[in-house]
Symmetry: C2
Subunit: 404 residues, 2 copies
């Protein structure tokens, strides 16, 4: 009988239990849900019914209170949830609080504080360097191997999976054009990334060391950093990306707690340069994750991106982001940067997959240099879990709608 | 008898009435205050006592509800406040709700949503270009005269005037160094700017036109965008400033409503390039403000920065920031960029004032290439007001404390 009886090997089985926020049809009330198979558990209601002390963290319209509660609470709540959905004695009590995923509306799972995006894939950085600076001696900038390059993005335009993305308009100027022109972007792209959410804040003026990563970061999720390459190319010197990125960033509705990914941890690629002590993770637990991200356009596979190839880890990014004393807040989101592997079909952006439009993708519904109106882009992913069972990451999907 | 009897010509007289948030000694309760001379009026308490419908907007711990209420409410509240502090019949009722400024604690006046920083002074951009790219044919990048260059900063480290600023640590690398070194910044700088706060949000996917500036932006204030030039120089290619700026941004405790600055409006400098229609302000009201910002270090004047020389206006910045469909939220903050005038003593950063340290300032307490621990930097400003009376802007001050 569903929902307890998720099929053996389901990537959203009781070993996973990602968190989201949902509402029921006809209701504006949002509350924390936990995904099990193709159902969602109203976690706060279940906690109430079971007399659990965690009801106050779970019967809330965002994940922020749970995020702020800290690592011990995260483990305790996860242990309790695991019991509620696996111990037969709880079944009768808990079952009424499951709802089919198809019947609920999923919302942005947490209130985004600051949003930072990194640039941590060496393959991606080298591809971009070769495309945009073909004459440079090195496709990487001189700082790339010394620090995880990042910048702040726009928190207010982070949207949940399923939200339509309006094609942005803006200025663009090809090098040979005498002046910029204005109009809808003609080079709308994706960036397949993994996002991380901070739970526990830190004090301004104090760095957060590498070793404190698991005390601050609650979980991860798929992220699509939509990018208008033509707008970006004209605006980004000298202060970085702005309108080419700020129109929309899509995130999954499901946050996978780091506690569900212990079997997925892997060492990052061998370091080619000595790292300054605050970034030296040689004495730390493995900082990478063996996630494989599949990118589809209108249901057609276009890429499979190996997150294990990322040069900089989430722990290094956190340490770098705070080493100047910048504080963390509950709900801070940081993206890994585009995930691109070493081979052609492992690239996380159309910029790379089509080599800036030179080699369009041949899809069953036509060629694609960049995205067309109506295109639906979906990222999905899985990681190795316990006993050979996969841990599924909640997909992130979005449809391009015409410029307004 | 104070506080109604502010001296004739006081820059914080009843023609000004900036808004802030304060608490009384021994109390954690924050509420909206309005400055009159050297007193602050508990605006919510006064509204209650007078039976005003605006009590619900004013008896709040941040300005956000007032910001969100919109332009008609802003005007109505301002008109009511003006009456409360000028009409003799209200005096007895209102007077108990005034507190000496020296007795209250001032707080961050609004919850910052997104923070964007622009680069709108042509003098500043040319100075920076000459310092960092001395061999370039043009000290401005090719896009500079076509769009207001901007980038997102860190909202979570915006602090109110008076907050100490911890010297940031980070990586730096001089061109001749074989590898980066780590340590406290040795080129800690300021940027004298004006900040603008958005009240009324906008919808994602819709641009906000130039003409809607006054419908969305509530007011302005002084802002010090602390900058570690050594960290910034090493990190900023290709994605822009990050840790060189994200450690702290100081804002005034007092937000001056745009309604108080009607007499200060001036036309921006003549445009040297045709503007795309969404930035063309030739048919709009004058978009500049005649603000004069004084910068002091430890009480010694080092610069007077004329805001009227800014090439890009706040209305143009708003239109640009949203032209790609990026939405606005209540509490969005955007900075003008460093305000530098055409002459040597009108520059808004030490980078420019000392020409990257080459020509240190001679202050009574010693030479300054960049900031030393213990230095107190203060920005203050005024604008022309009605009948020749100045409109004072609340100062923004901060002391540099040693790296932690």
């Amino acid at each position: 009988m569903p929902p307890f009886d998720v099929p053996e090997g389901d990537p959203f089985g009781p070993h996973n239990l990602p968190y989201g926020v949902f509402s029921l049809p006809g209701s504006a009330e949002r509350t924390v849900g936990v995904r099990l198979g193709d159902h969602v558990l109203d976690a706060g209601a279940a906690a109430h019914a079971l007399g659990s002390p965690y009801a106050s963290l779970l019967a809330r319209p965002t994940l922020n209170p749970l995020l702020a509660a800290g690592r011990t609470a995260w483990s305790d709540v996860r242990r309790a949830l695991t019991a509620w959905v696996t111990v037969p004695a709880h079944r009768e009590t808990v079952e009424p609080f499951f709802h089919p995923l198809s019947e609920v509306t999923l919302h942005l799972p947490f209130e985004v504080a600051d949003y930072v995006d990194f640039y941590a894939s060496e393959n991606h950085a080298r591809n971009v360097g070769q495309i945009f600076r073909p004459d440079a001696a090195d496709s990487l900038t001189p700082n790339w191997k010394h620090l995880p390059i990042g910048y702040h993005g726009r928190s207010g335009t982070v949207v949940v999976s399923g939200t339509d993305v309006v094609r942005p308009s803006g200025q663009r100027k090809a090098p040979a054009d005498p002046a910029p022109v204005f109009g809808p972007s003609v080079r709308l792209d994706i960036e397949a990334e993994v996002g991380f959410v901070v739970g526990v804040p830190s004090e301004q003026g104090r760095a957060v060391p590498l070793s404190a990563y698991r005390d601050h970061v609650f979980g991860l999720f798929l992220l699509n950093d939509w990018s208008a390459r033509d707008i970006q190319a004209w605006e980004y010197v000298p202060l970085g990306p702005f309108l080419g990125k700020s129109f929309a960033t899509s995130v999954s509705a499901w946050i996978t707690p780091l506690d569900a990914l212990d079997e997925a941890r892997v060492a990052p690629p061998a370091r080619t340069h000595d790292l300054l002590p605050y970034l030296d993770d040689s004495g730390e637990e493995p900082g990478g994750y063996d996630l494989r991200i599949t990118v589809t356009i209108n249901g057609h596979d276009v890429s499979e991106c190996p997150f294990s190839t990322m040069y900089w880890t989430a722990a290094q990014q956190l340490a770098h982001m705070t080493v100047n004393g910048a504080s963390l807040r509950t709900g801070d989101l940081y993206g890994s940067g585009t995930v691109s592997g070493p081979t052609e079909r492992e690239r996380g952006s159309l910029l790379e997959l089509t080599w800036n439009g030179r080699d369009p993708l041949e899809l069953p519904d036509g060629k694609r240099a960049f995205l067309e109106d109506g295109d639906v882009v979906t990222l999905s992913a899985w990681a190795p879990g316990p006993d050979g069972v996969r841990v599924g990451l909640g997909e992130v999907t979005g449809r391009v709608v015409p410029a307004s």
